[in-house]
């Protein structure tokens, strides 16, 4: 079984980069263009891990984490925040909302996969 990733990012470039990296590494890739779509898609995709951007229209990354954790859709699925910011407050805020970890943009393939392994145990 492939590990299913749901990536939520409003940048097409980043989505393409993620798709390329993840698919090559053997993950099953799904994506949403903003937080709202991501949360809406979540139940259907039923991912093993969520990667979300922070700055997005309609619903931002914090909103995504809060909705996914908050109403108990699945409080256990790991949520990785993908962000250009590395400020500690931001990490603290994301974690406070229930984020599992974070990946700093720009990411390199290996660290992305490493992070995914640590939260999903994926063999990929």
């Amino acid at each position: 079984m492939k590990t299913k990733v749901l990536a939520i990012d409003d940048s097409r470039t980043i989505r393409n980069l993620l798709a390329a990296t993840l698919e090559e590494a053997g993950f099953e890739y799904h994506c949403a263009v903003d937080g709202r779509e991501g949360v809406d898609m979540y139940p259907d995709v039923d991912p093993d891990v969520v990667i979300t951007d922070i700055n997005m229209p309609n619903l931002d990354g914090f909103g995504v984490i809060e909705e996914l954790r908050g109403d108990g859709i699945n409080s256990k699925v790991p949520i990785l925040v993908l962000t250009t910011e590395s400020a500690p407050e931001l990490k603290a805020r994301a974690r406070g909302a229930g984020a599992t970890g974070w990946i700093t943009k720009p990411f390199d393939d290996a660290s992305l996969i490493f992070a995914l392994k640590r939260v999903t145990g994926a063999a990929a």
């Binding site: 409003d10 259907d44 859709i73 974690r95 599992t100 720009p106």
Partner: protein, 728 residues
């Protein structure tokens, strides 16, 4: 792979820059919606994010400054005053320039870059740390040193033993972190022994399911550096009690700082698990050697709830999605595919003509039924053609928005204040037309700022607002696109224009010209009104180039001007460059096509309508007016076998308002023809604009009435005569 993603990035940049411009223009216009600010922030942020992925450092650095200032505005710590808005507009222009430079490899204006950076920095609070944004290459994994997994690893790193005590706080389980996976990651690095410490587990009755009681003692023998081991626990830092003791700690601590950086650059290699590792056995719950999975995380009761929600959530959300509206779904297609389709549609139209011709050649008495069906075929072909054209059609909005930048730059260069007002931005025009309009529009707008709009003090003296207004509008006008550039400047200085034209020998000294004719002198090659070479003019490009560009698109350009009130340039363009309506005529046994747009009327002439002019010139008298006759056959150097004089006339009008009667032998039909460019096949031929393929498979030339008239001695003689008579 990365190439195409980079293309996507630049495409996306265009959209993002457009959004930025749009937002800034809205703010400039007094829109204080916080969502506008948010949208701009996100757009710039996305440009930064993408640029980072491709190592475009300049772009990243600049976007970051820009974004930081915007963040201040967003957070309400800074007000958007006029000065800041102008700075942001200039910065947005510069951001576009940086994107262009990154894409096309051009140079950027370093001085301008630094000035803007400094100006932006003034708005950034002191404590704001400049982000260290290390770009990491795509597709090329960071050096996998230290991993020593493969036999080819050069220097064999020393094995070390780490003793790790790991005790999660209950908060950790709320973040989706799972000890088991962390242990798995450690196991991949070397030999791992896990020992569960269950000493703190209370009795079953006293157990609080939300509490965390478990702790683990791990021993890891690995060749990995300490920083890599620490990196495994990166996400749970602060959410657990963690101690890592290693053999080489003294040395490792010295690298404590470096460890943070190394975290991202040296992940473990895939599948680096040691050979012969024992497979985890989930049934043995207690401490075991060497590696056992830990007990499941305590908060496992969340699972059933999740399942329930799964059923209800999508229903509730799907309605919301529809409400949200948002942009219509679109499809991104390679241009080439659309071009192929357009070609195929062109063939279809030609094919229709061929069928029609074949049927006519059959000599069957009753073809009504077939003709009805054929008419249906024709209508369908037209529908398909329009549909395909609609695919290529794009709103002129991005083009118009770029023009705002041109006006800002030109204003800055000339010390004038001008604002550009766009109208009809959603008017759709063929993509190629939009692309090729960019240069002419740029030139006209620069001219409008440079020559049209007066200096602020002059404007004030003339009782006008200090800020000049240039209106750029687009609209559809009976099958054509009309682009209008209207300024509220001083208008064309006619005495001066005429003077220059005389000085340059473009018109005779005693020429008496109408106002409109004087205005149109601006389009003559070699004409320039600039008294001195300013920053903007003196680029060696005149309005004649603009005119050629527009004509090259099959369009026309016209100018009208009111002294003291301003000038208006009107560009009329065909909707598409691929198919046009034409009149099929025959000239000296050749079939030719004349664009319908240039034809005013057609008529059959009788001898008494023809008057002679000079030695062999002829004029056609129409309702009391004389119009020069151009014999198309003669103009193209064709020999007419029969002695019979062409008796059919197409009255055409040039963009300068000059009328002329094109003499042809016969008119056959009015129909849609597919334009086949002659560029690259046989170069430019005077009098011929392009070619088309007729129903019988033959090639027919599409005439360019404008150049036929220009080459006609009769028309020239008549024109001179007229001017002379006006002068006297």
């Amino acid at each position: 792979m990365s190439g195409s993603i980079q293309d996507t990035f630049f495409e996306e940049c265009e959209e993002l820059l457009e959004a930025t411009d749009e937002g800034l223009t809205a703010i400039e216009g007094g829109d204080h919606d916080p969502e506008v600010v948010n949208a701009i922030f996100r757009a710039v942020h996305s440009i930064k994010g993408g640029a980072g992925a491709f190592g475009l450092d300049d772009l990243v650095a600049f976007a970051h400054r820009f974004e930081t200032v915007f963040d201040e505005v967003r957070a309400g710590r800074m007000e958007l005053d006029e000065k800041l808005i102008q700075l942001l507009l200039r910065s947005s222009d510069h951001l576009s320039a940086l994107v262009e430079a990154a894409r096309d490899g051009g140079e950027i204006d370093e001085a301008h870059h630094d000035t803007l950076l400094a100006a932006l920095d003034e708005y950034i609070p002191e404590e704001e740390e400049d982000l260290t944004f290390e770009p990491m290459g795509l597709g090329a994994p960071a050096p996998v040193e230290d991993l020593g997994a493969g036999p080819s690893a050069p220097a064999e790193p020393q094995e070390e033993t780490y003793r790790i005590r790991f005790q999660p706080l209950k908060e950790m389980y709320g973040t989706g972190n799972e000890p088991f996976f962390l242990f798995q990651a450690l196991r991949d690095m070397g030999e791992l022994t896990v020992k569960l410490d269950e000493n703190e587990l209370p009795g079953f009755d006293a157990m609080d399911m939300a509490e965390s009681y478990l702790a683990w003692d791990l021993t890891l023998v690995t060749k990995e550096s300490r920083s890599i081991v620490e990196a495994v626990f990166e996400f749970v830092e602060g959410l657990c009690e963690l101690s890592i003791d290693g053999d080489g700690d003294a040395e490792a601590e010295a690298n404590a700082l470096a460890a943070l950086d190394a975290m991202f650059s040296a992940p473990p290699a895939d599948d680096a698990a040691p050979a012969g590792e024992p497979s985890p056995d989930p049934d043995t719950g207690s401490a075991a050697v060497p590696f056992e999975p830990p007990a499941p995380a305590p908060i496992s009761e969340a699972k059933p709830a999740a399942a329930e929600n799964k059923a209800s959530a999508p229903k509730a959300e799907s309605g919301k999605q529809e409400q949200r509206g948002g942009p219509k779904p679109t499809l991104r297609v390679e241009l080439e595919r659309v071009d192929r389709l357009i070609n195929a549609v062109g063939e279809l139209i030609i094919n229709h003509s061929m069928l029609a011709q074949q049927i006519a050649n059959l000599n069957v008495s009753d073809t009504r039924d077939v003709e009805t069906e054929l008419e249906g075929f024709k209508n369908l072909a037209r529908d398909i053609q329009e549909g395909v054209m609609a695919i290529r059609a794009q709103p002129v909005k991005p083009l118009f928005q770029r023009m705002a930048r041109i006006v800002r730059e030109a204003s800055a260069a000339t010390g004038k204040t001008c604002k550009l007002v766009n109208e009809g931005e959603n008017t759709e025009v063929d993509k190629t037309v939009i692309e090729r309009l960019s240069d002419p529009l740029t030139h006209i707008l620069r001219n409008a700022v440079d020559h049209g709009v007066e200096k602020p003090e002059d404007r004030e003296a003339a009782g006008k607002p200090k800020t000049g207004e240039i209106r750029l509008s687009a609209s559809h006008r009976s099958g054509s696109v009309c682009i209008e550039i209207k300024d509220d400047g001083a208008g064309v200085n006619r005495p001066r224009v005429k003077q220059i034209a005389i000085e340059k020998g473009l018109i005779p000294e005693n020429a008496e010209l109408t106002d409109s004719e004087i205005d149109n002198l601006l389009f003559m090659p070699g004409f320039s009104t600039a008294k001195e070479v300013s920053n903007l003019s003196g680029r060696g490009v005149g309005m004649d180039v603009v005119k050629n560009a527009v004509t090259g698109l099959g369009g026309r350009i016209n100018i009208s001007s009111t002294p003291g009130k301003g000038s208006t340039f009107t560009i009329i363009l065909p909707l598409t460059l691929a198919v046009m309506d034409g009149m099929v005529v025959s000239v000296a046994d050749q079939t030719m096509v004349v664009p319908i747009t240039s034809i005013v009327e057609t008529m059959r002439g009788s001898d008494d309508m023809i008057n002679s002019l000079g030695a062999d010139g002829t004029l056609l008298s129409i309702r009391g007016n004389f119009v020069p006759i151009c014999d198309v056959a003669g103009g193209l150097g064709l020999y007419r076998e029969s002695d019979q004089q062409a008796g059919v006339y197409l009255l055409v009008e040039t963009e300068t308002g000059q009328r002329c009667a094109l003499a042809v032998d016969d008119i056959h039909d009015q129909r849609q023809v597919v334009i086949k460019s002659l560029d690259g096949v046989c170069g430019e031929i005077p009098g011929v604009a392009a070619a088309t393929i007729l129903g019988d498979g033959k090639i027919a030339m599409i005439l360019d009435p404008e150049s036929i008239i220009a080459a006609s001695p009769t028309a020239a003689a008549f024109d001179t005569e007229r001017r002379m008579s006006n002068a006297s």
